[in-house]
């Protein structure tokens, strides 16, 4: 399954298809410790254990921006 993290393509394989796995693959998971949050393409905040679907676009950014 292909998803995008901050505009970069990431390939995930079941069962490893959560937001956490996408961030680990993109090397961005540790950024969460600094308080940044993850959003879907419609601007909704999503949890790290949330399931992703094919083509999902997610964004890691601070809550204020």
């Amino acid at each position: 399954m292909n998803v995008s993290v901050n505009g970069c393509k990431v390939t995930l394989f079941p069962p490893m298809t959560t937001v956490r796995h996408a961030l680990l693959t993109a090397g961005l998971f540790e950024e969460l410790e600094s308080g940044v949050k993850v959003y879907d393409e419609w601007g909704n905040e999503i949890g790290t254990e949330g399931a992703l679907n094919e083509g999902a676009k997610i964004f890691v950014r601070s809550a204020d921006s």
């Binding site: 394989f13 079941p14 069962p15 680990l24 905040e45 254990e49 949330g50 399931a51 679907n53």
Partner: protein, 515 residues
Amino acid sequence: MRRYTMMMFILVLLAVTASLTGAEQKVITVLHVNDFHGFAEPYKPLGSDTLAGGIATLASEVGKIRAERPVLLLAAGDMIQGNNWANLFQGESVIELMNAMKFDAMVLGNHEFDFGTEILKKRISEAGFPVLGANVAGLGDLVTPYIIRELQGVRIAIIGVVTEDVPFTTHPRNVKGLTFLPVAGVVDRYVRELKGKADVIIVLSHIGFSEDRELARRVNGITAIIGGHSHTRVVDPPVVNNALIVQAWEHAKDLGELDLYMEGRKVVRAEERLIDISPAAGTGDPAVERIVEKYEKKVDALLDEPVGEALVDLDGEHVRSRETNLGDLIADIIRKTAGSDIAIIGGGSIRTSILKGIIRLRNIYAVSPFNNYIVAVRMTGRQVREALEHGVSAVEEGAGRFPQVSGLSFTYTLSAPPGSRVKEVMVAGRQLDPDRRYTVATDDFLAAGGDGYKAFGEAVRASKDYSVVGGVMKGDRLVYGNPGRWERDVIADYIRSGGKISLTAGGRIKEVSGR
């Protein structure tokens, strides 16, 4: 006379309008949660210093709204599996909680299947509310496709559906004999069946927010979709094909309140608000608090349960710099569980030591606190070497990537530059063959690229389409996965079965001089 007639007409018109709008307008409230995952107590989410959630506080909010008007309370799946509060009782604690909160219905989530179908059937039989699964075949009468409830004279149908991907997101044995039908076709069929029988049609879904949008686009006649699975905090819900799509985040951090404004039997407006839940929001519901505390005490008692005995100290302190007996033990358990040739785990996943003496469940949970699960990947010998190279590339920094291994031994030279430190690698008494494929067990953290490991991901990316065939996972490269069972529980079960642990490290990872 004409003036009098006109006035009468206006008065009659006003009276009719008032009766249509004021007198007959009512509000139907549907409260909802999703992806609770047994997070009964408030907790600090990653990167936050503030406590959030708490099911007793959420229950108290439900109680306040119920005191004002009749409501429905729904759960959109993934309720019974997740953290220790749920897992140590295989979800029984959550069902007791939901019964006390008087849930009206719940849809099965993919993680409801993680304890296997027999346990799931037991949990469903304990539930004092209907469990929905319109697209699940094989559970007999235990699940129902939909229910119809009447609230203030309005007939509300609730159809429940779960992701078709369940067989990919749990161990195949957990869904043996079950079939998960395509969601849109099933929902369309029941929406048609419910025509004339219900005034409002709610889909209680566990398929994820983007799939909910797609479902609404494809199926006419849905009033609202109350979703789960993607853990989405939908503050500004979209309307797609006249259906409002809502979801209330995760872990009882929000309670969703969906208000349907009715004129007669027709919905004229739908509104959703999320009520943030935290200890600061107020006091908890006493009855729910008692259940939370009761199971907390049971968790404490279970964590004190002896599961085995360490005849020697098991070293979890030096796992980031050298082979240790605890690293060997855990790597062995992971390799045996996955039935693989080799296991490679990150030393950083082992958080503490176990001292000589009785091993309690608490000790194992402290050693392996993360919600990681075991996967196994088919890799070439070349990729195995790459993984080991990465593992020893930052030994000087004490990085968590340092490998603990099973099924292989290797030497490395610290004075060589990172990327060319690994020297001899032996598997089952033979030199590692760079072109041969080996099955390699690890955890999902490393496999997904955690601690900078790329080799697992590269191996999996080379896989042909992954599939489940005949209830067994088939894939070119990904050969094992059990997402519903945390590594710590696998370790605990293994130690329970063996009893006494006596292990001396040595012979698997050796630092040698030279370049």
